[in-house]
Amino acid sequence: MSDLTGQHLVRGVDHAAFPTFDPAATVAFYRDVLGLPVVHSICAAGWGPEDHPDFIHFFFDIGNGDRIAFFYYFGLQPSQRLDRGDSFAQFGSDVPEYFVRSRHLALHVDSQEHLMEYRRRLDASNWPVEMQIQHETIESIYTHDPNGYFFEITRALRPVTPQEDLDANLTIDALVDIVSSPGHTLEDLLTRKAELIVERAAGWQEEQERAGAAPSEVRA
């Protein structure tokens, strides 16, 4: 048996699951508007020690064999609604909008043409695009699905370079290092990260060159 220790073995999203109280609109949005095929469903009677209702668990193909899935529970009513949120969680007016929007699903497309095709489909539906944002590295469209889930489709304007992977790792190591100190700030992180750059960046570059990596887009 091969030694799997330390190997990166997972292969993408099998499924990410969300509850729905409106399966008809959910099917309309994902299957009919976006064109994501229904690829699996489970019709199940409730069982178990809890008072579990009968339910349907249904899946849409989001590309690469990955899936988004929903649960529809027969007879379950939404709990008391607060001001904002979605079918899973609601938030009062004390919770900032950026926090409410922080949890979202983003699907990937390969080109602007493909992004604009999804924009066209959404704009012709009950769930038109609410925002289209392009900056130097990505372009995204956003809407909310019929369950209130914040939904994004995005494309990269250029491939991620190897040095950005290094940079991401230094950022995260710096974050882990400073996050237990009380009152930590972005400036604390950037200070720690500069130390990590000095410790590791030159060695990383030498390793890249030894491995014969094609020089990434680095200015001389």
Binding site: H135, E136, Q163, E187, A194, E195, V198, A201, S216
Partner: protein, 81 residues
């Protein structure tokens, strides 16, 4: 001495240029990073760098013995700690 670090990606090039064009600055490369240091404060004007907000507000990779005293839509200012 104030010293700021940037990752060498195309989006940051004009920012690095503007930061290092100020008098008495020194530019050092360490792996895929570039640092710009100065005996006095380092000031970068966003419009001179010609970058929009998403890049502007994520362009700093690190700070050595320095602190950010201004980082708004117009100016990034770094001073010795």
């Amino acid at each position: 001495m104030s010293r700021i670090w940037f990752l060498d990606v195309p989006e940051n090039w004009t920012i690095i240029d503007v930061a290092s064009q100020a008098p008495a600055t020194r530019l050092t490369r360490v792996g895929p990073y570039v640092s710009v240091e100065s005996d006095g404060p380092l000031v970068v004007d966003r419009r001179s760098a010609g970058v929009r907000h998403a890049i502007w507000y994520s362009c700093v990779a690190g700070l050595s013995d320095s602190r950010i005293t201004q980082w708004d839509k117009d100016t990034l200012r770094i001073e010795a700690r």
